[in-house]
Amino acid sequence: MNFLHFILQNRRQVMELTLEHLWLVGVSTLLAVLVGIPLGIMIARWPKWNKPVLAGANIIQTIPSLALFGFLLPVPWLGDRVDRLAILALTLYALLPIIRNTYTGIRGVDPAVVEAGRGMGLTDRQLLFQVQLPLAFGVILSGVRVAVVISVGLATIAAAIGAGGLGEFIFRGLAMVNNQLILAGAVPAAILALSADLALSWIERGLRPQ
């Protein structure tokens, strides 16, 4: 296991890049949640926005990530700091699963429950916060899980524009045709993705009503 040896020798740098990676993924996911959940709520309430919003998020998803990073580079304020740019791109990619799951989660709440709530005189806001969102929570969180796992993978590509993260090892390894270096980036990234997924599933289980 040569690459383990490499990681141990360079543990400071591995640590640093992992934290950078976490920062990119964490901030972008947070932003995607802040934007995506309200958008999902909106299209669940006004279905005519459903098609355009989901289509927009879908189109973003189809843009190759390397192209999107390069495409955003010349944008004035964004291009000044590459981590800013990387975060924006990652946020855009994370939107689709979050919006879609928020929408399906709310739509999936038993219609009898919603009707009973409305019939008893709950306002739209009370219905949303006390009934629909709590019941949709599991579905929304699994959307966030998907978004995080996607982001951890995509964030490796952010290194191509110099935004740091574990992708640095991977790109360096590719350039130097050094498999150990590639693995030193890829394996921690994979571990990161798996543990984030696991952590979120724990949260999901913990918060589900027993």
């Binding site: 038993d110 009898a112 429950v113 919603v114 009707e115 009973a116 709530g117 409305r118 019939g119 008893m120 005189g121 709950l122 306002t123 009370q126 006390q130 009934v131 709590p134 019941l135 009503p209």
Partner: protein, 290 residues
């Protein structure tokens, strides 16, 4: 004959409150006279009501119907005859396309307030699965801002009323049987002591024994509480047993409104067809009605 109709302003203030509560609170003799007319007046009135879907399908037309205070009006008819639509027009889950629906003498007002003053029970119960029985029953008092201990007290009282154990309060809906769930549904509808209760096939999904039990308890409860009830069913036996009057509906129209006894003897072809279909002979009928 119609009693003197109160001014809309006055009546709006009264919408949903208990008549006893107001009459003792306001000393003015003139107003008291109005009170009297309201208290004995109609709880619900449909005036030439129609309801049309956005697609153009007409679900109800020319509906004229009155429900007296303290009465149980049963809307009887087959699937798609417009019973549920009629019911939902009362608590404004639907708005009439034509005509007006008066509740406590008024057709307008705050819809949220109106709904909180009307109990609503549906076949699928619609209990909040993430709330305990206690929170489910206490939902309207909670959003109305009752103090916590008063809600707790009320929930215990209601559990007794609908025949459930006090310790059920901490259970979740999925831990209950179908009959227990429907009891909780009824308790929830009664929580804020509404004068009007709307029930949409509440016992339709229950097994015959449980249904019989709940029907019997409903009758006992109704004798005690004296609510105005609109009850939807397609079951003639249930209609005969529970209704003060039976309104027969067919294809979005009201066919006839009759007390149970007369319904059985009616020579209206639809009513007769219904009686035949259920094979309710005179002997059976007498037993059901009494």
């Amino acid at each position: 004959m119609k009693a003197v109709r109160p001014t809309p302003f006055r009546a709006r203030n009264l919408a949903g409150t208990h008549p006893n509560f107001v009459s003792s609170a306001i000393p003015d003799g003139l107003i008291l006279e109005h009170m009297g007319s309201i208290a004995s007046d109609l709880a619900i009135e449909f005036r030439d009501v129609s309801y049309t879907l956005p697609s153009g399908d007409r679900l109800l037309s020319g509906l004229n119907l009155e429900v007296q205070r303290g009465q149980t009006l049963v809307l009887l008819g087959r699937s798609g005859s417009g019973k549920t639509t009629t019911l939902k027009l009362v608590n404004r889950l639907l708005s009439p396309s034509g005509g007006e629906v008066l509740v406590n003498g008024v057709a307008t007002g705050d819809i949220i307030r109106l709904r909180r003053s009307i109990g609503y029970v549906i076949q699928d119960v619609g209990l909040f699965p993430h709330f305990t029985v206690e929170r489910n029953i206490g939902i309207v008092p909670t959003i109305e801002g009752w103090p916590k201990d008063k809600i707790r007290q009320r929930v215990q009282e209601l559990l007794r009323i609908v025949g459930l154990d006090a310790q059920m309060a901490s259970r979740y809906p999925r831990q209950l049987s179908g009959g227990q769930r429907q009891r909780v549904g009824v308790a929830r509808a009664l929580a804020a002591d509404p004068a009007i209760l709307l029930m949409d096939e509440p016992f339709g999904a229950l097994d015959p024994l449980t249904r019989d039990e709940l029907q019997r308890e409903f009758l006992a409860l109704q004798q005690k509480l004296n609510k105005t009830v609109v009850f939807v069913t397609h079951d003639l036996r249930e209609a005969l047993r529970l209704g003060s009057r039976i309104a027969l509906m067919e294809a979005g129209k009201l066919v006839t409104v009759l007390p149970p006894q007369e319904f059985l003897r009616s020579d209206d072809p639809w009513a007769a067809a219904y009686v035949r279909a259920f094979g309710v002979g005179p002997a059976v009928a007498e037993r059901e009605v009494s």
